[in-house]
Subunit: 328 residues, 2 copies
Amino acid sequence: MKILITGGGGFLGQRVARELLAHGVKTGAGGASVPVSAITLFDIAEPPAGVALKDPRVTFVTGEVSDKAAVAAALGRDTGGVFHFAAVVSGQAEADFDIGMRVNLDGIRNVLEACRAAGNQPRLLFSSSIAVFGVPLPDVVNDGTTPTPQASYGVQKLIGEWLVADFTRKGYIDGRAVRIPTVSVRPGKANAAASSFASAVIREPLNGIDYACPVSEKTLMWMCSPRRVVGNLIRAFELPSETWGPIRSVNLPGITVSVTEMVASLKKLGGEKAAARVSIQVDPRIDAIVQTWAARLETPRADKMGFVADANMDEIVAQYIADEGIKL
Amino acid sequence: MKILITGGGGFLGQRVARELLAHGVKTGAGGASVPVSAITLFDIAEPPAGVALKDPRVTFVTGEVSDKAAVAAALGRDTGGVFHFAAVVSGQAEADFDIGMRVNLDGIRNVLEACRAAGNQPRLLFSSSIAVFGVPLPDVVNDGTTPTPQASYGVQKLIGEWLVADFTRKGYIDGRAVRIPTVSVRPGKANAAASSFASAVIREPLNGIDYACPVSEKTLMWMCSPRRVVGNLIRAFELPSETWGPIRSVNLPGITVSVTEMVASLKKLGGEKAAARVSIQVDPRIDAIVQTWAARLETPRADKMGFVADANMDEIVAQYIADEGIKL
């Protein structure tokens, strides 16, 4: 199978590509593994040479998802699967409305129209977000909770979900969307995502850097580790279309963690000194977005579909230390 | 106040314009009436001379809502209120996917961007539809039911609602959206709406024309008369922004009526001969769309906001006979 990954230069795009190259995709008869013959990574810029995925089956294409012709060219005619990760993050979509609309809304529409034009009903995985939930937020969000986003990022993701659902219903694609929890611990630098702190609060101290957390210690987040989310994204792609039925979106499982608990795990696994590097300095702009997000969910549909969560925050911190080879 | 009505040549556009010219809009301090100084009716074609609204304050502008520049020109710089009715109906949006996306999705986006560019935060009323509800459909849809549209028309309307909500939250407009029931009895000819039968089954027999109803007698519809819907549309426009809060959409009240009950009211008010003109001839394409629609709703939020429903089907039929001067 030939695969296109938009946002292919990013964290999730690179990790998913690596997994697909190593293990193929279980989309054959009875869930049999099918080899991945080629992957096109589409992104606005190539990752640095030291970081970028190297494999003879991988081609990197530079372009904007808001550029319809560039997306169509990157997809080509015989692509069987698409992972759509390209997006501007929540903080940026809120600060620059036009960029958010262009990348997050025109972007998914361009990808969907390219798939439709290709005519081979590609399978498509759209990464949505729990940011689709807003007000009034119940104590526990469940599979029946109505998405009512209160930030442009969540609105754009929700619109993307419904476009995916309708293109699927029309038979243009075989689409599915997953609402991913906040992924932590992401390596690298902080970005404009309002959720960026949930990685930085662990990552920066473990790398000897002081960190001012922009939300209060009581703030709760719905979280998932990189390994778990990559596994769940690939599972979402692999599940048969019938398993999804007419509802093409699902809330992915995660764990509810407070900032206090994040710092406690940091202390337990990274030491007193690392934990002491964290201070709280509330940024009202970030805090306002984060406080509208769902932090406690029940995910029976996802659980039944075989998606899995991390056991606890300690496991998430330990995974980062192991994966990044942090010296303590 | 200067007002723009898209779809201004259509049934709802013409009726709303007539009301606004006669009574002004109650958007002043404490709900005081403000005179309507000018109305621009924007539509793809002027209504026939005999039907078109004549008033020195009315200007008709011909154009497509999918044409961004035409929409911006029609809005101008000092328009205080917009009623967005321009749309292709459910049957057409399903039969021609591209037209639906262009008119129903690009259309509302063009109107919203024009309002934003105008910079005066116009008040905007978006006519959505109960077609936003799909599967799994509860026995009774209420204010907490999650929209899960299963036809392109409903998807496009739902996307429009969320764009209206986000442009409102950002302060670009003061938007509100109403999910209108099936409006019956519409005068004139049948159109490509899958709900067209709900008017035709009364209208055609009363005008001496045989009618083959494309859905079964047991089919239930959520209905509202023209007078009630026009009153509710204007009320939705007039209500203060605070009354809406962060949720900018509402399910409008209506009554649940079966095809059997429609024909019974026709018989009671129009006579045996009229009722005998109705036959049932199920059209699977129409039936498939209609059966996914919500037909029983509870609308406590709308009721509290002062929206009103008709008393019963007899009242709806009697209204048509009176308004159109039908000779029995």
